[in-house]
Amino acid sequence: MATAEDWANGFLRQARVELDASRADVTESVRAMLPQMAYEKIAKAALLRSGQWTVELAQTTHLGASHMMQLLCNRRLREQLSVLEGRLRNSLKPLVDELEGLQPKVARDRGRTSGPWLEYPWEAPKGVTTPAESLPNLERYGARRAPTVRLLTDFAAELIEKHEQLFG
């Protein structure tokens, strides 16, 4: 019988794969979707490590990343990370919030019944469109070493590396 720790490590391993994929040669919309998936899994691994959460919840929700980022803005936690306060509060957290809000189920649960969102097509005034065609701010994810991509992926990698130190 797998333990919560086993499951947490599984989520982290998959998050690492998604981060690596986001640094590969993929289209912009996929490069936006992959960090969202990775942050979600990093948060779920932490939630599972809390001992107060279940695998069932981890497999059914897409929330967690935004709460985790809010908590990491606390000075005591921030001190354990290499990121500067301004960058965490003003750049990273808004990006993670935005990506979480673009996850289709999260968007729907928050009352938004149509895109734009990650992963799925949606109906626009001129017909059905896709994230690859119409996701807002696509230019941010245009290159694997684009500043936004680097910021997201470098911080996610640090969270994976220090996960046990922070949430263990």
Binding site: L47, R49, Q52, W53, H67, M68, L71, N74
Partner: protein
């Protein structure tokens, strides 16, 4: 300690009252609070919880209130804050002991709208405000209060 006492200006004291502190001295204050907690009182879950709560209030202007969930060996805080969305899910994060924090700390952020309907949400048993005896350790007072 003397230096910390001398820093207790009327403005600071007033700010502390306006922020709703009723227990430990308002911090400019983390260091001051730390000293109070560390020297004048033994490091208990309660004192560390109040120190952490003070830091969180300073870091998150969206916090409206903080509740302590009783536990013998771990700090457990429910923080009602507008800094998170009202998604109706309870997301408990546990953090490792760190400098000045000899206990693990478990923190749940809850949007005020979710807090208002807390009886309808699915809580972990050990954190459930419907069955646990919570102690409110911080409440931000409105400006008109």
């Amino acid at each position: 300690m003397a230096g910390a006492d001398q820093d207790e200006s009327p403005d600071r004291a007033e700010r502390g009252r306006s922020e709703g502190w009723t227990g430990l001295a308002p911090s400019r204050g983390r260091h001051y609070t730390c000293i109070v907690a560390g020297i004048l009182a033994p490091e208990t879950v309660d004192t560390v919880a109040k120190m952490l709560a003070g830091e969180h209030v300073a870091d998150d202007p969206g916090i409206q209130s903080i509740y302590l969930v009783p536990h013998s060996s771990e700090v457990r805080l429910i923080e009602v804050t507008s800094s998170v969305q009202a998604d109706g899910e309870i997301l408990p994060f546990r953090f490792s002991p760190a400098r000045d924090v000899p206990f693990k700390s478990l923190v749940v952020l809850v949007n005020p709208k979710d807090w208002a309907r807390r009886g309808q949400l699915r809580w972990p048993v050990e954190l459930d405000p419907n069955s646990q005896q919570l102690e409110r350790i911080f409440e931000r007072q409105s400006l008109s209060a």
